[in-house]
Amino acid sequence: MSDVLAVAEHRRGELRDVSYELVTVGSEVADATGGDLHLAVISGDVDAHAEALNLEGVDAIHTVDHGEEFNHDVYAQVVEQVYDAVDPQVLLTPNSVNGLDYGPAVANALDLTYVSDAVGVEFDGSTLTATREMYSGKVETTTEVEAESVAVSIRSAEWPATETAGDASIEAFDATVDEDAVKSTVKGFEEVGGGDVDITEADVLVSVGRGIEEEENLDLVRDLADALDATLSSSRPIVDNGWLPKNRQVGQSGKVVTPDFYIAIGISGAVQHVAGMKGAENIVAINTDPNAPIYDIADYGIVDDLFEVVPALIEEFEG
């Protein structure tokens, strides 16, 4: 029997999706050996979060009411204490920006073997098998950990979210936070590049990537967006180049969008981008490279030069 401890993530009052996904992975791993899944909910409105995470497969939820927002010094201390109390074999954290801000420290402090960014996890009680990508997604590896105790950070949006309600025990965990050891202060948050358009609200997005080559070519996709009565969005390189404001960026460090139609033009589909748009109902890809990962998730595709296809498409709607 192997128990699992998973750490929920929330930001600015909201639980993040990865928390529900952690429940899915956690219960799979725990069930494989008949162990229990424990959840740690730290900071913020812990009661509401615990209530929301009282889901099928969760056996116990430990809440630590300390502060409003994530602070890695607090998290590191608290997770170590909960870990010691629960004594699980597997620690699960999100492979998010915040997950990476305490997970490795906790693993090091507790002397756990750390496996980051897993996209698949299996556990037989003694060997944990994680699937990871290497070389920016060009290959996948099967990694085995022969360890008493491991920490795994899981990639978001790789597992379905657990939504069915459960009957876990919810208890406040009595953690002691050494304030002297808290040497970082979160001063606030800033939405980057607000602007007038909210791409998350759009039904149809025409999204443009590196394949557009030059800034002036953006007019072409603008015309298409106009013709389709759609909103223009982009992948990271376009924003990095300063061609579009940050609020147009779809992806991990941009916005997560779920339009009815997502038309990806000259976007290869790097995992960071896909994380932001794979929830779209219909994904259309226009890209010259038939091996581009965007085609893995696309519903419709045209493997051809965007400079040929897009004008023809505009013609279809305007001509």
Binding site: H72, N95, V97, G103, E133, S184, A230, A312
Partner: protein, 263 residues
Amino acid sequence: MKVLVTVKEVAAVEDEFEIDGTAIDEAYLEYDLNEWDDYAIEEGVQISESEDDVEVVSVTIGPERSEETIRMALAKGADRAVRVWDDSLEDAEMLDVEAKTNLLAAVVEEEEPDLVLSGVQADDDGFGATGVSLADEVGFEWAAVVNDLELDVEGGVASVRRELEGGVEELTDVDLPAVLTIQTGINEPRYASLRGIRQAQRKEIKPMTLDDLGLSADVAESDLEIVDMYEPETESDATLFEGSPDETAGQLAEVLRDGGVGQ
């Protein structure tokens, strides 16, 4: 003050490649400075340019070949470099987070920097964990995924922005000494010209073995093992339209119209 920048020589894979067992066939690999570390070096050098009396030391773990990479750091403005390598590391199949943490911790103890900059992650194994793990090991403060840094050397505080998901940045102050993992886009890395690289040959790259660092060979032992490597299956079940651009555009237009687009 002293800034230690950790750099890694990473292997990039050509578009077409072959897998040999649990690794990529060497013929398809090209070695280069890790992209994130390039930004970390630039940040370190910019600190040395804007503050007085800053020494930038670059450290890498790697075989002699990796001197080419660390020389890039020297060419860009690092003052000197340390290269950790040992025969026992040569034999290790892979260095996991723990091993790298311990090796770098020994270097930190030796160099006693005020600030350690590392890239958010390495492009090859993509752990993204060494920096924060190192901070814990050496008792430094830390911040992960930093895309803006302002240093108050006097006050011993680094004011950073952390790039969170969804277009949100977190503004955080961390006490020094600290380890910061640097995100791409924090600056514009400068070019290391061939002249600069040639000039960097005069700068010191100090080789250090496990002995020099007071570590034993078991530092390289890992509980992690790669048992399989494969190309991810393409799960594509996309409907691909074929024909001339006019034809494909026509077919796509039909689908879009059926979906109520542009009506």
